[in-house]
Amino acid sequence: MTVVASQLFTGISIGAVLLLIALGLALTFGQMGVINMAHGEFIMAGAYTTFVLQSAITDAGVSLLVAIPVAFAVAGAMGVLLEFLLIRRLYARPLDTLLVTWGVSLLLQQLARDIFGAPNVQTRAPEVLTGNTRIAGDLTMANNRLFILGLVVLAVAALTVALRLTSFGRRIRAVVQNRDLAAVSGVPTARIDRLTFFIGSGLAGIAGVALTLLGPIGPTMGTNIIIDAFLVVVVGGIGHLRGSVIVAFVLGVLQSSVEYLTTLSVAKVAVFVAIVAFLQWRPQGAFTLRTRSLA
């Protein structure tokens, strides 16, 4: 019973990590249709920000809390720069955006290698986040994972509020639904695009801060996880966050359960098979057609 509960928690927390990574993508890919392969490197930037801040602020707890907004700003700024320099020229060519941003991700990785060195760097976590909380009997939950779960809930809530209730959110949704009409109605679409990209990339930075609690901090840390996150958004569907949230947790629990019963390799393959099967049932690739014109 303990095992089932702790596995369930592991699955949920895997889902939380996935979601934290995918949240920014849900915004840039889901809302804008931009496939940014350098998203993983924005995560890396967030992690390295934590590392740099820790050498300035020695207290692990304080530096972690400071790192969250700073990493958001750093990664967000990188995102805006990328949008401004490259992506805005490529809105009509999504596949090319994918390849261009892949190139950017290679550049950023090598840049990180040259700045911080090829080996991983370490950050110290505040002692409280390396422990765990006893729930009942033998059942414990890791504090770092609880922290990430909290962070995700907060991020999703903030994003939902921002999209639903603020004028910025209304404008984003207007642009998503009908870019031309929004432009004609006086929405500054270019500025909205940039702002959306800032937030989406900034969320990657926050994910990077969170990942320092779980795994290695190195130049290639972003590439390993980015494909899973893209799958979350692909399956979750475009245009709304709800799908991504559900899919992230379902995939997390699926992966951890299959892994528990077999191996991680089998679990990863199982997730892929499940996704292809799901797309048979609900193909997200078939977006709504503009019926009056096919051009």
Binding site: F29, G33, I35, L86, R89, L90, R93, P94, L95, D96, L98, L99, V100, W102, G103, V104, S105, L106, L107, Q109, Q110, R113, D114, T223, I227, F230, L231, V234, T263, S265, V266, K268, V269, F272, I275, V276, L279, Q280, P283, Q284, G285, A286, L289, L294, A295
Partner: protein
């Protein structure tokens, strides 16, 4: 135009069969053989992506299937009848050959499998994906996930696939000793001949009615549907053909290089296949070939001198070529010649 195509093939034949073997050392010729294998993959990607709009980021999977099929046969031939391949005795602790290895002892089956196996996998996956109108970036990401899954699967079955090591130490090629430089040369000629033959085939396909239809599907899938075609079928043909070419390339890569491993299959090598195609000109016939060879050559020579610089260059190539010159260098050549006949070639 007709004489130009013929002259082009003749020139290609002279370069590949005459000039290259004459001027290159055995070692450099074997490198060229490897590059030509990548070029074979590139021709397929050019067809699927340049003409069909299918950005496949998982060609490594098909390359790997072809390569493993070939390597399995060669390993069995090396081991001799009734014996297990060396790695299986070491890591597999198996008493007998796994059932799915057995058919590969037959050379005809193995040769056929190098091309048909990738095509079958592409057919199955393509049917599932295209039928549900999954396309564009969704297709690209799924194909990439396929590559990741395939690598994990191969590595997890170490006893029967060689795991991360892959299949190495391949000594013979249908009875010929691969250590012998003369035989290495023979392998090179086979690869070059396959490339030329395939180019002729793909050229035919591109100029056929199907080639025109494929471009039509790329440009407006829905319109084609309203004409009474099923675009899924049209795309499937290109995807399966590209998979077959990648499988052939993988199969030829094995005797040329002597190894097939998951390192050639995953996400990174799969996307590296694409960059050569983009640089050369995705929708042209020769662009992908020249691009793939140029990129592979640059990788070898640059990494000999400046290891880090290669990654910067590779990244910069992706960014600059695709953002600024989506038609690749082929379009640059055309711009210079001011010949506006590249109608099929601009996506």
């Amino acid at each position: 135009m007709k004489w130009r195509a013929a002259a082009g093939f003749a020139l290609g034949a002279v370069v590949l069969f005459g000039v290259a073997p004459a001027v290159l050392s055995d070692f450099r010729l074997s490198l060229l053989a490897k590059y030509l294998c990548f070029a074979l993959v590139a021709v397929g990607i050019g067809l699927a992506w340049g003409r069909g709009g299918l950005l496949t980021l998982g060609q490594g999977v098909f390359f790997g299937l072809g390569g493993y099929a070939m390597a399995m046969h060669l390993k069995l031939a090396d081991a001799g009848e009734g014996n297990l391949p060396d790695f299986m005795e070491l890591y597999g602790q198996l008493d007998a050959l796994p059932w799915w290895w057995r058919p590969f002892a037959n050379p005809v089956f193995a040769l056929a499998a190098t091309v048909l196996l990738p095509m079958l996998v592409a057919l199955a996956l393509g049917t599932l994906i295209f039928r549900r109108r999954v396309r564009g970036a969704y297709f690209a990401i799924l194909s990439q996930a396929l590559a990741a899954a395939m690598v994990i699967l191969l590595i997890g079955q170490q006893g029967t696939t060689g795991g991360t090591n892959g299949l190495t130490d391949i000594e013979g090629f249908f009875g010929y000793d691969l250590d012998d430089p003369v035989n290495q040369r023979m392998v090179y000629f086979i690869i070059a001949a396959c490339l030329l033959g395939l180019l002729a085939l793909v050229r035919q396909l591109m100029h056929s009615r199907y080639g025109e239809l494929l471009v039509a599907v790329r440009d407006s899938e829905e319109r084609v549907r309203f004409l009474g075609y099923n675009p899924a079928t049209v795309k499937l043909v290109a995807y399966v053909a590209a998979a077959g070419m990648a499988g052939l390339a993988g199969a030829l890569f094995v005797p040329a290089v002597g190894i097939i491993s998951p390192a050639l299959i995953g996400i990174v090598p799969s996307i590296e296949f694409v960059i050569g195609v983009a640089i050369g000109g995705r929708a042209t016939l020769l662009g992908p070939v020249l691009g793939a060879v140029a990129v592979a050559y640059a990788k070898t020579t640059l990494s000999e001198r400046f290891p880090g610089a290669w990654i910067y260059l590779q990244g910069a190539l992706f960014v600059i070529v695709i953002a600024v010159l989506p038609g690749g260098l082929a379009s640059l050549a055309r711009l210079l010649r001011r010949q506006p006949h590249g109608r099929l070639e601009h996506p």
